[in-house]
Symmetry: C2
Subunit: 334 residues, 2 copies
């Protein structure tokens, strides 16, 4: 990228047949895409969503409204095309891949699921580290391998794992230094009593490991197999200059880990939506992120990222296909 | 629609493989679409954007940052495919039609522009009614004809007309009883001095006609040819049970006219985005509207409606394609 690139890019955006700035966030998005690719005519056609699924030891402590077996059931639902993520991926022309990052019940050994399990779910972080050092390192590496694979202009990383809003809450709590009470939410839908219980369990889990932790330590102590892989995938995809569509609360917690481990990752991140999950706003704020959509989503799976993809594609198309004032013979006020 | 339809619809949404309510606004949108079509399996595949273009007598009073000839130039830009609306329509698979509702300089007589001019631009509402009674009636009727035409599941109506934020401001001012100062904005980009001048001109125009006016009278006194056609088109499309995607400030002013003239129109309206134009929020609030997107757009042309279309399509696809807990063999918490 030459020193003049930012000026050339701004001129290209401002000479399109529209009042300057009148496409708002779409113009910012176009600039981010062009800068990431260091091209005035960026390519933004091919997008893949990878859903990483894994189980959580914390789920056995009673932090979720759904039983842990739903993780495995939902992976099969992804594989047969019936989940929300499948529907939105088809609607948006996004390729979908499903990874078993460590779901209880053994390998799926079925078409449509990539078996890369780090284990049979994590250990409960209430009682010890959720991941071993080896599991954590392998998770980051396997994720990175997938984040580099293929020929994608944009990549989204979704997650499925009963109990994983608890893991994400603990990650945000320890990296941001905010109270659990400010970050904990209803996840898939616990009631008031369940929420109080979830908060108490997470506070006890956190109290198990006092002091300041590195992002790698936070991942080991409180993370998840799918969160490790999403983190590694985001870092690698960003390094490959691919746009990374960040989904909801759990994916944003992984993005926070990724940015703390490799700060240059931030430039590739597009925050798809502001989730209804309680802690999401605080993590977004810490990342200086302004999400594209505010639709009250709280499903995960990458669904918010999929709904934002058409905006990303349109932003690049604006840059590539819109006529300039000169080309169209339209009078520019300036 | 049977008496049991609302309950059957809610059951259909809540038994999809996701926690209840976890798709937020997408679930509301799905319910609106299904209710409009009175079908649990609504069709939402075919969408058309019609851009109505016309000139405004008020433009000669110095209310805009761009000269009036830009209306005609932009119609040619639409016809040759180089405007933002063309780019976003292609990206979203939306058909586009361009109507000359009354642009100065005579018929276009060119492929890609439907010549239906009501005149050579409106008269200046600073000096007399913008439209004659006959022009107003013909505008509503021609719009209605186009709103009924074709076989569309959803229709969006865009506008192009230098000076038309002024017309929209006056319409909102007179229908809502709010001061011009609370509604007037920078349109295509007037500076502070221009904004003060615009406000003063609009206040003088309004003062020309004291008293309470019917929506039909407001349209005649202060409207525009394109606004009359958009209003008529919205009423007719809603009557045909088509979803109507409402764009920005000017389209929303037309929607306000449409709802005041035919209140049943409201049920078909989806508000695409919250524009950066100053008065839009007040008009949206008066309609009880919560727009889908908040992207700081202020271009018009239907661009915001086009960017919202993929969300609408995905909402219907959720209803039609997502598996239920029973179908997918996923444990429901309830």
């Amino acid at each position: 990228m030459t020193r003049d690139f930012p000026a050339a890019l701004q001129t290209r955006i401002d000479t399109k047949t529209k009042p300057p700035g009148s496409l708002g966030r779409i113009e910012d998005l176009a600039a981010q895409i062009a800068t990431l690719q260091a091209r005035l005519d960026p390519r933004m056609e091919r997008c893949q969503l990878t859903i990483f699924a894994a189980d959580h030891g914390l789920a056995d402590e009673g932090v979720s409204a759904f039983p842990a077996e739903v993780t495995r059931q939902m992976v099969l639902n992804f594989a047969s095309g019936g989940a929300a993520a499948n529907v939105f991926a088809r609607a948006g022309g996004v390729a979908l891949q499903v990874v078993n990052a460590g779901v209880r019940g053994g390998p799926f050994a079925t078409e449509g699921v990539l078996d890369l399990p780090l284990g049979e779910g994590t250990a409960s972080s209430l009682r010890g580290p959720a991941l071993s050092p080896d599991e954590s390192t392998r998770g980051l590496e396997e994720g990175a391998r997938l984040g580099r694979a293929g020929d994608w202009d944009a990549m989204a990383f979704g997650e499925m794992g009963i109990g994983n809003t608890s893991a994400a809450t603990l990650i945000a709590h320890r990296l941001l230094g905010l109270p659990v009470a400010d970050l904990v939410g209803r996840g898939t839908g616990v009631d008031d009593k369940g929420l109080a219980r979830k908060q108490e369990i997470l506070e006890r889990a956190s109290a198990r490991v006092p002091g300041t932790l590195s992002p790698e330590q936070v991942l080991q102590e409180f993370g998840g197999f799918e969160i490790a892989m999403v983190t590694g995938a985001m870092i690698a995809a960003a390094k490959a200059r691919r746009l990374v569509l960040v989904d909801g609360f759990i994916a944003t917690a992984a993005a926070l880990l990724a940015v703390r481990m490799a700060p240059e990752t931030r430039a590739a991140l597009v925050f798809a939506h502001h989730s209804a999950e309680a802690g999401h706003g605080a993590v977004l704020a810490a990342l200086g992120a302004q999400p594209l959509l505010h639709l009250g989503l709280r499903l995960g799976e990458g669904t918010g990222a999929l709904l934002a993809w058409p905006l990303v594609k349109s932003a690049a198309a604006m840059l590539n296909e819109m006529a300039s004032f000169a080309e169209a013979g339209v009078t520019d006020k300036s």
